[in-house]
């Protein structure tokens, strides 16, 4: 772990340098344009300074995004509509609800598939086929239709998150519930264990590593679902709405700060699951 700190830092530093360079390159045209209109000649230093401090740059420099992030998270009141924390909370609540629903549905389906042959043969192919459909594309329709039925707010977004997050859980859990070796299953039989006992004492515990791995994937997918689900709601609130509003009004700094907030959210959520995974598996003596 410690060995990789230096290379990672180098890569991140290189990315920052590339970013600053790209900001100069992409924003230079606009800076030159303004300078010629004002009738001044820009020196190289002035040009660089200008490209890193524009109001609506094509690519904002990293420090501009950092300043915007600081201003919208720390300096604004949390209840304010301009606070990024407020928008993040809206997205986070939909993500978590969708994730919880999706995980529950996924586990239920997986148990059904493992214990019921008809379900295994009929449902499993459709679960896989359902994911070759770009479900995100249907997101706006689901939102609008549910709105027409009178369901609005948190639930439609959570439904999309659920749809995206149940799939990895189903696949992972089916694999996990089937992971006990035949020897172990036979052992349970010699102890005269009922199917319920086999499930609780053997299959469920041995599926947990698979469950945690797929929960991480599901959480990331769920966040994407919530963000995309916010796009068609008319840009009211949430990180997705910030993205859409930013792209309508050319507020690139706002887009980038929303993007970074989403990235941070994803990192924290996935990291939390990883933490729980380590604690639980250690308690169980598996890690």
């Amino acid at each position: 772990m410690k060995r990789s700190v230096l290379p990672v830092l180098t890569v991140v530093l290189a990315l920052l340098v590339i970013w600053y360079g790209a900001a100069v390159w992409l924003n230079a045209a606009w800076a030159q344009d303004r300078a010629t209109r004002a009738g001044v000649e820009l020196s190289l230093a002035e040009l660089v300074a200008d490209t890193w401090a524009q109001d609506k740059p094509k690519l904002p420099a990293p420090h501009q995004v950092a300043v915007e992030l600081w201003e919208t998270t720390v300096e604004k009141k949390i209840t304010s509509k301009r606070s990024l924390v407020y928008h993040s909370w809206i997205t986070l609540s939909a993500t978590l609800l969708g994730f919880a629903l999706g995980t529950a549905l996924g586990i239920a389906l997986a148990v059904g598939i493992v214990y019921n042959r008809v379900m295994d043969m009929s449902v499993m192919p459709w679960v896989i086929a359902s994911q070759t459909i770009p479900i995100l594309a249907i997101a706006p329709m689901i939102i609008v239709v549910l709105n027409a039925v009178g369901i609005s707010g948190l639930l439609p977004k959570a439904m999309i998150s659920m749809y995206l997050s149940f799939f990895p859980v189903v696949v992972g859990m089916v694999k996990g519930l089937r992971s006990p070796a035949i020897m172990q299953l036979d052992q349970m039989k010699t102890w005269n264990a009922s199917p319920a006992q086999t499930f609780w004492k053997l299959r469920l515990p041995s599926s947990l590593p698979y469950l945690f791995t797929s929960m991480k994937v599901a959480m990331a997918a769920s966040l994407v679902g919530a963000i995309v689900g916010e796009l068609p709601t008319g840009a009211v609130a949430g990180l997705g709405a910030r993205l859409l509003a930013g792209s309508y009004y050319g507020q690139t700094i706002q887009i980038w700060s929303a993007l970074f907030m989403a990235a941070a959210l994803a990192a924290v959520l996935v990291g939390l699951i990883g933490l729980v995974q380590r604690l639980v598996l250690k308690r169980m003596g598996m890690a």
Partner: protein, 287 residues
């Protein structure tokens, strides 16, 4: 009322047929029953959908019956084809080829330098979990409204999953095998082409398969942020606004077919290239 009764009857019939088939298939698992069970499940679902929508009088602005979708599909083939070319061929396929190609080459470069590997891999893993789709508004702003920006979104979306898989694949060959190549006095390139690339192929194809759906999703969602007046994402978002839900569903059917065909094509290619891998051999033996 008659429709609802018909729906319930169809439900019972489908369930009964599948239970019978699943019992039959308990003997040797034949290919015909393996195919028939999910087909019956899907057809039953469609019939139930049709019957309940008609029986309960659900307005077609909320959920059109499958028959209405089918007629609309047949009537609007030229629109659907135009959208398909714009989004799937120009946007998704171009981006997919560019993104996967770039990721493959980057993976080769990373593999040569352990320092890069230790630095880039954690960053790549991190980025692969991020809501990359949020980049869409920015890329649309940079590359304009036409298919180029959609291809760019797809490139960014497929790059990291593909990179991580390829790097993992390049490490798949055993130490023994590599040592054997050394005793043959094989150079870096010979080892790469004759041993490590073939050994990496299962992982590469895993990445290629995962990214097929990502590519289509990316291209469609990017169109929500601005597009010319054709394209699947554009048609979906405008038709939802016009409450022409049958057209939306027809577009979804196109997306589903395109997604499945895309996935199927990659899977076929995989079977042709990695015919030696145990997972492929087992499947070949089964049929």
């Amino acid at each position: 009322m008659a429709w609802i009764v018909a729906g319930i009857v169809a439900w019972g019939l489908g369930l009964w047929a599948n239970v019978r088939l699943a019992r039959l298939a308990r003997l040797p698992r034949s290919r015909a029953t393996g195919l028939a069970v999910p087909v019956i499940f899907g057809v039953t679902l469609l019939v139930i959908w049709e019957c309940f929508v008609r029986g309960l009088g659900v307005p077609s602005v909320i959920l059109p019956p499958p028959s209405a979708i089918a007629t609309r599909f047949a009537a609007a083939t030229h629109i659907l084809w135009e959208d398909f070319v714009q989004t799937a061929i120009k946007g998704a396929l171009t981006g997919y080829v560019l993104g996967c190609g770039a990721a493959f080459l980057t993976a080769l470069a990373i593999d040569r330098f352990p320092f890069l590997q230790r630095g880039l891999l954690p960053v790549g893993n991190f980025v692969a979990a991020l809501p990359i789709i949020g980049m869409a508004p920015i890329l649309v702003m940079w590359f304009g409204f036409d298919w180029q920006s959609k291809a760019a979104v797809v490139v960014v979306m497929v790059f990291f999953p593909m990179l991580v898989n390829t790097v993992e694949g390049l490490q798949a060959s055993d130490r023994m095998q590599r040592d054997l190549m050394r005793t043959y006095a094989a150079g870096y390139w010979q080892t790469l082409i004759k041993l490590r690339l073939p050994a990496a192929m299962p992982f590469v194809f895993n990445g290629l398969k995962i990214t097929t759906t990502l590519a289509l999703i990316g291209a469609i969602v990017a169109e929500f942020f601005g597009s010319p007046i054709k394209g699947m994402g554009f048609r979906i978002s405008t038709s939802v606004g016009q409450l022409a839900l049958d057209l939306v569903w027809a577009e979804i059917v196109v997306a589903a077919i395109a997604g499945s065909a895309f996935f199927g094509a990659v899977a076929l290619l995989e079977r042709a290239i990695t015919f030696w891998h145990p997972s492929q051999r087992a499947r070949a033996g089964q049929t």
